[in-house]
């Protein structure tokens, strides 16, 4: 799995994993999210457009990143999930935890976490 990181400013970043986020690569995603949170980033958008498979390790990595961000009142947004990752999010009810957007721009512009 490759992960591209793009920072729009000092507190916002978009990361784009490519390929599969599974038991093998999930720990890598977790590290990237935690490192960004440690650098002071408050909003991370995870663009899932190029992730064609995500298992529970990937879900755990997202939750881990969310926890790190929330310690600083930050949030983690998702966008453009493909069918398999979206199904995994729904079946685990994590679609109610992470705001999911149609585009990275919308996800970045939505500053406040929309926890229902």
């Amino acid at each position: 799995m490759e992960i591209a990181i793009s920072k729009s400013d000092s507190v916002k970043a978009t990361i784009t994993p490519r390929g599969r986020v599974d038991a093998d690569s999930g720990p890598q995603l977790k590290l990237v999210l935690q490192d960004l949170a440690a650098e002071g980033v408050l909003l991370i958008v995870v663009d899932l457009q190029e992730v064609d498979f995500m298992d529970s390790s990937g879900l755990s990595a997202l939750v881990s990143g969310l926890r790190a961000l929330r310690e600083r009142d930050g949030s983690l947004h998702l966008c453009r999930p493909q069918p398999q990752p979206l199904t995994a999010l729904k079946l685990t009810m994590l679609d109610r935890v992470f705001p999911i957007f149609a585009t990275p721009e919308e996800a970045l512009d939505f500053d406040q976490p929309s926890l229902p």
């Binding site: 599974d22 038991a23 093998d24 498979f53 298992d55 995994a88 079946l91 994590l94």
Partner: protein
């Protein structure tokens, strides 16, 4: 349903191949005795005896071809023989051979290694400098055997060394082959006809044949450049086959030549004998003088399978115990030796053991290179490992079960090279209730990095299945892939806990459901260890999503602890 037999491929790319094909022309002078072994030096006769002797001489040539192919991969093998004062070439391909006299002249006038720089044998047979190696100098050699390879470069020294090393054994083989020249009886073994070119997954391309009630698949791979394991399958009548699998003591050219001899002896004796013990007895008589001469022995098991009712009759000359797997009670039975290895005692006796075969039986004949294959920690695969793979892959087709065992051996050894030859011959009787299921066995190392193999497999099989409605394939493929990847991750983390192991099983697709059976040899699963706690949207748990996903994606998810510290997970997803 098709029923398939495999016969040992004649040009197996994974067997007896040197590191790289070496372009060359190699000519071996065969001794005078080969000339005497044929009828070419006598007037051609029309009676059965002389005709048969011609055929036997042809067998000797074929054996010599195989032996030469052991040494140098070749696009062509040829024999040049003297007939009534003229030199006549024969090629294995049937294509013409050019520059015959140049080869003859150079081979006849020189001793040892002879170079033919820049020679060109035939337009289609490659060009370049070559080597001529005389294996035995006689005043008047009448036979030359040669190889032509496809690439234009001289052979390396190790190729020449190997041929020189093999040369005395080739000559010895030719001499030893003569006792096979007996007048055939009326009854003869019938080699089954090929039925098609489907290359089996995980196997080398071979020749495939059919019997109504049996499937047979076989595999052979040498740990060295050449090896001492062999097998053969010969059809008898419409619904029976006689099989043999053997292992020659020692390694190198001598073992390879003895393996070729052993296989030839099997083919010769099957023509005259029905009973496996009689086959071994006859093989022992034929082979003992040669084996005693070189202080070697051969363990071999031979069996007659098929008939109505289905029966297995086998005899084993000190060979590693074949396994008979019973579908009904998932039980493994070992088939012990019934006599001494060939070559130990010329008058040795052998017994035949006969047993009825129930539907779904699997018999695996193998050489000890299978069960004694070691992992990096020195742990052998063992009979348990072999048994586990048969269990996990059943009732897949014989060729797929065999492919899984071969893959399982690779997984077990990790990156270690083969230390011993591997020969496997797997026979399966038609299962009792397989229906129209498409069954795909699999085996992966218990490592996170290998889980993607299962994801790919599940997606590929479901997406390409015509049994699954087209509009549901994508969703079902993702569901199955996710579920088995989650379970496998669970096996890696909780069953094996970081230790080495295998995850094996099978996917099944029928007209109304997807099934996955997954086995491991790790610690027992205890549900409380991985079950998620109460879900809190404000503070979601870090872990525990795996089995939740699995249970959401399939209709049935069951677990059972098997004997022998094994675990079995089973998933079912219905789609109609």
């Amino acid at each position: 349903m098709s029923h398939i037999l495999a016969r040992q491929p004649t040009t197996d790319p994974g067997w007896m191949r040197l590191s790289e094909p070496k372009p060359c022309i190699l000519v071996l002078k065969l001794p005078w005795c080969l000339g005497r072994a044929t009828v070419y030096r006598r007037p051609r006769a029309v009676d059965g005896r002389h005709t048969f002797r011609v055929l036997k001489a042809y067998k000797v040539y074929r054996t010599a071809y195989r032996l030469l192919e052991c040494a140098v991969p070749s696009g062509e093998v040829f024999v040049i023989r003297s007939m009534e004062g003229a030199w006549s070439p024969i090629t294995a391909s049937g294509e013409p051979l050019a520059r015959v006299m140049e080869i003859v002249d150079r081979a006849s006038s020189s001793h040892g290694v002879i170079r033919l720089p820049g020679s060109r044998v035939d337009g289609d047979l490659g060009a370049g400098s070559g080597e001529v190696i005389a294996i035995r100098q006689k005043d008047n050699p009448l036979e030359l055997v040669g190889l032509v390879s496809a690439r234009p470069a001289p052979p390396s020294d190790d190729v020449c060394d190997l041929l020189l090393d093999a040369a005395p054994f080739i000559a010895w083989l030719v001499e030893t082959a003569q006792p096979f020249e007996v007048v055939p009886k009326v009854r003869s073994g019938r080699r089954l006809a090929p039925v098609g070119g489907r290359a089996p997954r995980g196997l080398h391309q071979g020749e495939w044949m059919a019997l109504p009630s049996l499937e047979v698949a076989a595999y052979l791979k040498s740990s060295k450049r050449i090896g001492g394991d062999f097998f053969d399958v010969i059809g008898i009548g419409e619904n029976e086959a006689v099989v043999a699998l053997g292992d020659v003591s020692g390694k190198g050219p001598q073992a390879a030549l003895l393996a070729a001899l052993g296989r030839t002896a099997f083919q010769a004796t099957v023509r005259e004998h029905d009973d496996p013990a009689d086959i071994l007895r006859a093989m022992n008589e034929i082979l003992s003088p040669a084996l005693e001469r070189v202080q070697a022995f051969i363990t071999v098991v031979t069996a007659r399978l098929g008939g109505d009712p289905l029966t297995l009759a086998y005899a084993s000359a000190g060979h590693a115990e074949p396994v008979l797997w019973h579908e009904g009670d998932e039980r493994l039975e070992l088939l012990p030796a019934t006599g001494l290895p060939l070559g130990v005692s010329p008058g040795a006796g052998y017994g035949t053991v006969e047993t009825a075969l129930a539907p779904g039986s699997v018999i695996v004949f193998y050489s000890d290179g299978v069960t004694e294959a070691e992992d990096p920690d020195g742990k052998v695969l063992g009979l348990q490992g072999l048994s586990d793979m048969i269990h996990a892959s059943h009732p897949a087709r014989a060729v797929d079960q065999l492919g899984m065992i071969i893959t399982g051996l690779d997984v077990h050894r990790r990156a270690l090279p083969l230390r011993d030859d591997v020969a496997i011959l797997l026979v399966r009787t038609a299962p009792s209730a397989i229906g129209e299921r498409h069954i795909v066995p699999f085996v992966i190392p218990a490592e996170a990095s290998a889980l993607r193999i299962l994801v790919d497999l599940a997606r590929q099989e479901v997406l390409s299945s015509e049994a699954v409605p087209a509009d549901q394939r994508a969703e079902l493929a993702d569901a199955l892939a996710t579920a088995i990847a989650e379970l496998a991750a669970n096996q890696v983390e909780h069953a094996y806990q970081g230790t080495a192991g295998r995850i094996q099983g099978r996917l099944s697709i029928s007209d109304d459901r997807l099934e996955a059976d997954m086995y491991d040899s790790g610690m027992e699963y205890i549900e409380a260890q991985v079950e998620p706690s109460e879900f809190d949207r404000q503070d979601p748990p870090l872990r525990g999503y795996g089995l939740k996903l699995v249970r959401s994606l399939v209709d049935e998810c069951s677990y059972r602890r098997l004997s022998g510290t094994r675990n079995h997970w089973r998933l079912v997803r219905y789609f109609r």
